[in-house]
Homo-oligomer: 321 residues x 2
């Protein structure tokens, strides 16, 4: 198997690599690693491609501007479903990452694109019951997809005996709901789960923004979107179609939205089994691993490594040469 090309310090190699592509997809989801120098209760640190904790890696803005000056299309890919692209833009601004709203591609938007452009259920039976936050609602609205549930305050309460009866006889259900979309919902409750389950039993399509089991937050782990939606998976007895990484449904949605040429697209990420795998399975022209995340050079060099990127750098800033 071909060994990945090491680009750090290789000015000519970097130029040749960059020239091969028109589009670069950047992973934006942080990964937590053990950081033993911190206190025991907070001994993990979020790392990734663009930032570590609250700090950008060196020369990240310069690399992004350099790629733009060469006419490259940039897409920032994230599995975070609670934030809309506009929310993400604000986060990027705060971190000092130069990015446009249209360059952000989150799993909620991926789901909205999938529902409106790929699934294309005939109206009015294309209504979505949302188990999730406002980020999902905003992205569905951007694609003119009708929905119920979500942040509806009338569902943020305990289930009552009357609810059980009204869900059972269907009087509480919307006949137009043909899709259940499950994401990260910090306001999940039994009432919403019971309603979503009833729609699934009626035959609604079962989608998920992403199925990450945990959510890294406050230097610890919390239940992720895949865990919040797990009651639906368990009760209906089948998995949802996931629209986030590493599902290729997300790659299809990116292609549908940006009209990228896969041959001329490079996935940039720090995790082999999600980001790099995502690019390889998507048959992209290239994959670039940055060694500022969980995986290291040892994971990709030598014989018999299962997932190997086309190239790697110690840090994204090394692309400045």
């Amino acid at each position: 198997m071909a060994q990945p090309r090491y680009l750090t310090g290789d000015k000519a190699g970097i130029e040749e690599f960059i020239d091969k592509f028109d589009s670069f997809l950047f992973d934006c989801d942080g990964v937590y690693i053990l950081a033993p120098n911190l206190t025991p209760a907070r001994n993990i640190l979020m790392v990734g491609v663009l930032w570590s904790g609250d700090h950008l890696f060196p020369k990240v803005p310069e690399v992004l501007e350099m790629l733009r000056s060469k006419g490259k299309q940039l897409v920032f890919v994230t599995n975070n479903s609670t934030k809309s692209r506009a929310d993400y833009k604000k986060k990027f601004d705060k971190l000092g990452i130069p990015a446009e709203v249209n360059e952000v591609f989150g799993s909620s938007y991926s789901a909205a694109i999938y529902i409106s452009r790929i699934l294309s259920l005939p109206s009015p039976k294309n209504k979505v019951f949302v188990l999730g936050e406002s980020g999902i609602e905003a992205e569905l609205e951007s694609e003119n997809v009708p929905y119920v549930g979500g942040t509806d305050p009338s569902l943020r309460r305990d289930i009552t005996p009357e609810d059980f009866a009204a869900i059972a006889d269907g009087s509480m259900l919307d006949d137009d709901v043909g899709i259940v979309l499950s994401g990260l919902d910090f306001h999940v409750n039994y009432l919403k789960l019971a309603i979503a389950f009833a729609y699934l039993r009626r035959g609604a399509q079962f989608l998920a923004t992403n199925t990450d089991s945990t959510l890294p937050m406050a230097h610890a782990f919390f239940p992720g979107a895949g865990s919040v939606g797990a009651p639906l998976v368990k009760s209906i007895g089948r998995e949802a179609l996931a629209l986030g990484k590493p599902s290729q449904a997300m790659m299809d949605a990116i292609e549908g939205k940006f009209k990228v040429d896969r041959e001329k697209t490079c996935m940039v990420g720090d995790r082999l089994n999600t980001d790099i795998q995502f690019g390889i399975e998507g048959k992209l022209g290239g994959t670039l691993m940055v060694c500022t995340g969980v995986n290291s050079k040892e994971d990709i060099l030598g014989e018999g490594k299962p997932i190997v990127p086309a190239a790697y750098v110690d840090s994204l800033g090394d692309l400045m040469g």
Copy 2:
């Protein structure tokens, strides 16, 4: 393989069968079946061993009294974790089933017995974080097991940014919690799931009252205890030890509580893959299937049937001869 003995109408056979046992365990969990004569929205009917819908099967009270008059010990076994034994006694009274509180054995009580008498963690590290309702709390109290969570009103609210920090740094956690017990919680929310997950990450034992995926109610299906606890299974990446049927941990707890002689105990149930299997795996002296539930004679007669009871009757009342 020996064919099961058909006891309906066989007066001598019934007497001989009953004489073999000192104790009878009765399944109390209803099973829903399709009942096409009802309206489409409510086309399923709950059946079981003792009752169908809200009505007892014929001669059920007589059978129970007959067994008692012969000095048999009766145990009513249920996976329902939301009700305590006292709650169940009220339900039995309403249905007209003669039963004592001490004869009821629910999955919550099973869990309490398992924690106090079998797991026996050294105090004070035997405190339980409960994801569930008051039935679980009542049974833990009956075994003097300390607990937090459960119906605590301070946890029935949305998670806040401060909660994320306080769960992450441990200041919101109780250092004595060594067990997470997951059951059916109609007030499940993200805050409780996040706290339970944090305890599991710290190494707490992971128990479940039962892992039924659905709950039959109001002539329909709702998410069951196993579905409510599914976020914990997904996020921690391992299954809980289930204390309800068909887990043999429940049989161990029944044996520990009632000191039954398994050789002289008979499990009475309507479902082959839960009740009858539960009795066979528990190496009980006998199993009796009633044909008033989901399974029928065709499922047990002939060659190559995977699960076969020792005997069967059309209806429990047939034991009156």
